[in-house]
Amino acid sequence: MLHKAGLTLSDGTTLDDLINRDMNEVSLRVMNDKELYELEMERVFAGTWLLLGHESEIPKAGDYVMRDMAEDNVIVSRARDGEVHVMLNVCPHRGMKVCTAEAGNAAAHRCIYHGWAFRSDGSFIGAPIEKEQMHGNRHSKDELGLKKARVHLYGGLIFATWSKDLSFEDYLGDAKFYLDQLFCRTDNGLEMLGPPQRFVLPCNWKIPGEQSGSDGFHTLTLHRSLMEGGIMGGTAESIYDTAPGMYGVDISVPQGHTLRCLEAAQTFKMFADISFEGKTTEERLNLLTPPGVTKDMIPQLFKNLSEAQVNQLATIPPQVGGMFPNILIAFIFAPRMDGGASGALSLHTYVPKGPDKVEFINFIFAEKDAPEDVKRDMLQNAIWSTGTSGTIEQDDADTWPQIMRNSRGHMSKTMTLKYQALHGHERPEGWVGGGDLYPGFTKDDTQWAWWSAYYDLMAEA
């Protein structure tokens, strides 16, 4: 095994001491180490692409939202040319926030401290009292704009990076085939149903981060109430016998993105007892339309996706997963209390706010072309299950801080997180998409892939 020697902490601990790649174990110490955190800010969060929002939030020129790339506050704005720009919300003059609102519309951002002003693309307009040239004479105006990040829109999702050379295509890798099925399947794409829910949890970002690497297994125990409520099929008594929702195909790519694909036929059984056998792709899609997609929109799926992609969406669709380093994907089917099959589309980012704090951001979506009543249902479904009050994620939010408290103990932090229930790579017959595949019961493979991606970035000197 290749041992890179790119990271050694001041007490001599190496990355290989913390992440044991022979044993698939990770030291609990990684969750509570200031030095490691500083390195993560540089090597992970300034080195890869980060999700900040969706272009439907800022449809008009001058529209902006304030977001964070780790602890760096940024303005995400649409300029007069229609392009989306992401720039550091730090005045190059004296370091004040140039923008003080979380959202709005402004032709220019004028710093409230000394009045330096910037266009919505970040370029410098000037300082007050132009004739006195209060921006000095050492830098030209071209050099005094807000510091810009590179931006890429994917399915309308706004990604940004401080990396100078990482292309978005290389970041996405083979995950694109699967993620297109979620983000790029309809003519007008996704729409965010309002600003994100935000709340802060007292834990390190990697505690929710490693879970976002498609930890399916915790669902059976931590989210037992789903089974008790009959939402996943089966009953509370039979949880560990029938293991509902645990069988499918898990996927990872070396970039650390992961997905869990669950058989549509199994999902459909939660709603009705009709067999999928012998049904065409179109018939299957009509029986179980992807969450948020209406029957009218099914032709759009064939138009926007390849035949192989639509076929997967109709047979064994990706439903939950994550994108490295800190994005959780929940594009889930959910029965509604008033009957019928419906779903919830939400994405989270887990934004680091210090070694022992993380901000949980919950972005909730619907398909833009869906009728208003469907959007209303989608919003309600997402609020009921995810985020602040979601009955699924309440339990996660209560668990993670307790792991954090354990990571402080002198002995406790020498304990390791174990990822040793591994299936290994196996390509199911007839499978079209790329990546590393793990069919059957959901195991630790994808979460280990998340840690491998973390290792690779942290080992880069």
Binding site: A101, A103, G194, P195, R198, I383, W384, S389, Q394
Partner: protein, 192 residues
Amino acid sequence: MTVNYATAAIDKTSVMRGLVSIQRVPLGSEVYNRLLETLYDEAAALDERRFDDWVAYLEQDLVYTAPLRLTRNGPNKDRDVVRTMKHFDENYASILMRTGRLSKSAWAEDPPSRTRRFVTNVRIAQCDTAGEYEVVSYLYVERSRFDNPDNESITAERRDVWRRVDGAYKLAVREIIVDQSTLGMSNFAIFL
């Protein structure tokens, strides 16, 4: 009706807070006293985790929501209540789903938090519909979790409609306007 979901958009409804009706129910009047007593009893039912007692206060056409707050400036500085997105978006059935869950495996409240709900600044007015009262209150919740000596807390304004039914008051509408745009509370596994 088409809703403008854009985060950056100005929402005309986003300014609404406080008491709307001008038919004021004075402090110390019989109606005021009974409603205040009901708010105190309701808070006690929630603090003592008597969820069946709490549900008995709820009308079947209940609308129970908690919109987002958003920091804004300039001409929009007071339009900071965003009703397109919510922390709670509940009806009677979904509240029953939530209280039902709390009686089984809801680890977020098992072991349970110890909570203390302080209800103050109660202002009451009569609605246009006879027997319905608009009740605005301030809510301050302290929440103690496990053996953690640091409590989590939340402050909010609640805009309620209480309805007189068979000699008692029942909750028909509650809008919880929290003060934080980024919540400092780990979850809303508790009711507000």
